[in-house]
């Protein structure tokens, strides 16, 4: 397996992970904030639905995405009209990664925001800050660690995503062959050397990401 091939697969995987994480960052933070601060009827149902991509078999998520994004699904005419082709592109891989990463980020954010005393926000309001300003200057900095941990978690999950990606993006070299898919294909072909090389890279990336996450979580001083 050539170095160029390894570089291409690794690069694609990192790109997919980065785009997926960037895409879910704002929605994940917003969702986490909503769940942490508001109670409303049906909240438990909403939380359960959000958790679905995390607990469903990834191939089930992939099939759902295939139906949603494909030209032959119920939204097919819409995609045709827009001239948009998503399946079997690396966009699909990114969408699949975003789908499975979103619950991780949203839940980590929910926990992080819930741990911040709402009194701080209210105090900031009385000091003249709008709700958004109070969130940005008080709640978010205080919840920063949890949010970043959630983002890193979603990123590493995106890197490892296989089932959903295989269905909705296929294993197209140069386009959608991520590390996980590449390992699988090579094992099927009996190319153990290549598979192990990709495995080693996956391991290194995941380890690095988790080390960063854990060191970020280690409090230097009490945050309350």
């Amino acid at each position: 397996m050539s170095g160029a091939e390894i570089a291409e697969i690794t690069g694609l995987t990192l790109r997919v992970g980065a785009v997926a994480t960037a895409a879910i960052l704002l929605p994940g933070i917003a969702t986490g904030l909503l769940l942490a601060r508001r109670s409303f009827r049906g909240k438990a149902l909403v939380q359960a639905v959000i958790a679905l991509p995390m607990v469903l078999p990834p191939v089930a998520v992939g099939l759902a995405l295939l139906l949603l994004l494909g030209r032959r699904g119920p939204l097919g005419p819409l995609w045709s009209a827009l001239g948009v082709e998503l399946v079997f592109t690396w966009w699909a891989a990114a969408i699949a990664a975003a789908a499975v990463g979103f619950p991780l980020l949203a839940r980590a954010c929910e926990q992080a925001f819930a741990a911040v005393d709402p009194g701080y926000e209210r105090l900031a309001r009385t000091l003249g800050l709008s709700p958004l300003q109070a969130f940005l200057r008080v709640t978010l900095p205080l919840a920063r660690r949890g949010v970043i941990y959630g983002a890193l978690l979603a990123f590493t999950r995106a890197l490892g995503e296989f089932g959903a990606t295989a269905l909705v993006a296929g294993i197209l070299p140069g386009r959608t062959e991520t590390l996980a898919l590449g390992i699988y294909a090579r094992v099927q072909l009996g190319e153990d050397g290549g598979a192990l090389a990709l495995c080693a890279i996956s391991f290194a990336i995941a380890l690095a990401a988790m080390l960063i996450a854990e060191s970020w979580l280690r409090p230097q001083g009490r945050s309350r």
């Binding site: 005393d117 009194g119 701080y120 209210r122 105090l123 900031a124 309001r125 009385t126 000091l127 003249g128 800050l129 709008s130 200057r137 008080v138 900095p141 205080l142 001083g221 009490r222 945050s223 309350r224």
Partner: protein, 358 residues
């Protein structure tokens, strides 16, 4: 009819609890007194605009904040009220200076002549500017919280039980700072407390709230000792309540007798047979181990020590003088006099120390 400078009309229900008050006063500094759960904090939140909209009518120091009839409801960030919460709530991610600048604006002047600089000096927190919130003691945090509230140049100051989270020895010191602050400021102050001692000195007017309803309004000393409020004050820390009947009288004083036969002299002339309810602060009771000679106190009672409770340099001595009386001494005095349960003493009570509340 001119409207009072401060008016608070709030009716709000939160589960089993409801707050329904219609208050008004002109005084600058008002004490809101009541036990925990009486609705004081809810009242404060209503004034701050942190409660869901209701039919409220709130005016503080001449400025309208809520007027349901006119459709006026200022958002919390527009009310410009300085809030000092019960536990300071200093932002943990900013140091002391950061907290102050957060309220004052980034370019604020922390030294010099401005309000903030004067507050820093009055509250003696100049040395703390470089520290983080979690490094401060309770009293220091409280003082920084007050400075932060003032840093935002508020049009009124709201203190929520400013001494409650402090240890007893600290309270006197912080109270001194607060009173100094109060006298220097010109803005209206709402001071919430459940401590009767604090309530008596903090404000020009006391508003007593219990179970979400107004109980009494008026000058603090009068209100807290009034018949309507006394049970509450006692429950919150007033001692020595005496019921008696006038048995003899003269031009300037009268003598009353309690059901158990204790006689006391009051500095007023009351008709014989009149029933009185007296309140006596424990601090107003002096003790003498030996029979006192000529003393100024009009009431000198023989008593036996029943119980002595010591706490942080202070002592509460419960006496049997016919009636139960509590005297507050220093622990040193107890030691010096060699007092112990069973000791025979004389209690000296000035006639003026006996306040008639009913």
């Amino acid at each position: 009819m001119s409207e009072a400078a401060t008016q608070i009309r709030v009716a709000i229900s939160r589960g089993a609890f409801s707050l329904d008050v219609n208050l008004s006063w002109d005084a600058r500094v008002a004490v809101i007194f009541g036990p925990s759960g009486s609705g004081k904090s809810t009242l404060l939140e209503a004034v701050l605009g942190l409660l869901p909209a209701g039919a409220a009518r709130i005016r503080v120091g001449g400025s309208w904040l809520d007027d349901a009839e006119r459709g006026l409801r200022l958002r919390p960030e527009a009310r410009r009220l300085g809030w000092v919460p019960q536990h300071a709530l200093l932002f943990p991610h900013l140091g002391v200076e950061g907290n102050l600048r957060f309220a004052a604006g980034r370019g604020a002047d922390l030294s010099g002549d401005g309000t903030l600089a004067r507050a820093i000096e009055a509250l003696e927190i100049g040395d703390l500017l470089g520290r983080r919130a979690h490094e401060l003691s309770g009293g220091e945090r409280q003082r920084v919280a007050i400075a932060r509230a003032l840093a935002s140049r508020p049009r009124a100051l709201l203190l929520d039980e400013p001494l409650a989270s402090l240890d007893l020895p600290l309270r006197a010191r912080v109270l001194r700072h607060l009173l100094r602050m109060r006298d220097e400021l010109e803005i209206p102050i709402l001071w919430i407390t459940h401590d009767p001692d604090e309530a008596q000195v903090a404000g020009e007017i006391a508003v007593v709230i219990e179970r979400g309803r107004l109980v009494a309004t008026g000058p603090p000393r009068e209100v807290l000792w009034s018949r309507a409020v006394l049970p509450l004050s006692e429950a919150l820390g007033l001692e020595n309540s005496i019921d008696a009947r006038v048995v003899s009288t003269s031009a300037l004083e009268c003598s009353v007798e309690t059901p158990r036969g204790l006689r006391l002299v009051l500095p007023v002339a009351l008709p014989i047979g009149e029933r009185v309810c007296l309140s006596l602060r424990a601090h107003d009771v002096l003790l003498s181990a030996d029979p006192p000679g000529r003393v100024s106190a009009r009431n000198v009672l023989a008593a036996r020590v029943d119980k002595i409770e010591l706490a942080q340099g202070d002592a509460s001595v419960t006496l049997d003088a016919g009636e139960r009386l509590v005297a507050r001494l220093t622990a040193g005095a107890v030691e010096r006099l060699g007092l112990r349960p069973g000791s025979q003493v004389h209690a000296l009570i000035k006639a003026q120390a006996l306040r008639r509340i009913a």
